[in-house]
């Protein structure tokens, strides 16, 4: 540990039992980025699910808007240690999108406009645990926060909730994504503090 600087405590930790270990509470909504923010026109936006057998399911923006939506209120936990509680979203449950998808794959790779990828077990996307969201706090999701549409998987660290999501590829083998190949944990459960590989 380094030399302690007198009077420095850091900006964090309104620590309380509601938060996963090592997290601090924030009230703003920080934006982290690994590249330029893509701007995707709704007329050319699409979302696809590709199965392990090569079958493709495709939705345009208009298709997505016709599907029944939900309004989950969830807590967000970023691996950079901030947590934001009680956030309001609107989007389509992945259970709805997977209704007609035939698959026996165990693994999913979410991929985004701009090239970002993140991997997770398929079961973490189903049973009411994940959404394709397009509204935050009642407003259209802005590009810095992942608009027009963002994957939301709030029970995992926020890097799994891919911004600018473009599709999900289903696979029989796990395929580590952008941060998962650069030292971050393959699964990323905030309650088990799985930040880095080996945690």
């Amino acid at each position: 540990m380094g030399i302690v600087s007198r009077g420095f405590f850091g900006r964090r930790r309104e620590g309380d039992a509601e938060l996963p270990p090592g997290q601090y509470l924030t009230h703003d909504f920080p934006v982290l980025s690994a590249g330029p923010t893509p701007r995707i026109g709704l007329d050319r936006w699409e979302f696809t699910i590709d199965t392990e057998t090569g079958e493709t399911h495709r939705w345009s923006w208009a298709d997505l808007m016709k599907l029944p939506s939900e309004t989950p209120t969830v807590d967000l936990h970023c691996v950079t240690k901030w947590s934001k509680l009680g956030t309001d979203w609107q989007g389509v449950s992945l259970d709805v999108l997977f209704e007609d998808v035939e698959t026996s794959a165990e693994y999913a790779l979410a991929y985004s406009y701009g090239g970002y990828t993140t991997n997770l077990p398929l079961e973490d996307l189903l049973d009411g645990k994940a959404w394709i969201t397009y509204k935050f706090d009642g407003e259209d999701l802005t590009p810095p926060h992942g608009g027009p549409a963002r994957l939301l998987v709030p029970h995992l660290y926020l890097w799994k909730s891919a911004k600018w999501v473009r599709g999900i590829r289903l696979m029989n083998e796990d395929w580590p994504g952008f941060w998962e190949t650069a030292g971050y944990h393959n699964y990323g459960d905030p309650w088990r503090e799985q930040r880095y590989q080996g945690d």
Binding site: L32, G35, P36, A182
Partner: protein, 91 residues
Amino acid sequence: MSIDYLDGNALAGPLGEIFAVEVTTAVGTCAGCGAAGPVASLHVYGPEPGLVARCPSCEEVVLRLVRTPDAVWLDMRGAISLRIPMPEPRT
């Protein structure tokens, strides 16, 4: 277009922790488009969750660096090569 990046200069500290030479003056060649330029001129996003350095010509990732509590992860697969200036040996 977003302009929320830094210069490759921002890599000098983190790379100085692992390399014995000043790497930001080295000339890197992008594996995506072949453009060559000093590491200092890359577009750097981050620092959190990690530093992502992209080619100023094609925006492909050239280099990534993640600092964990007990390791540095360095991914340079987006660079064909890195030409590092070295002092000439004394004769």
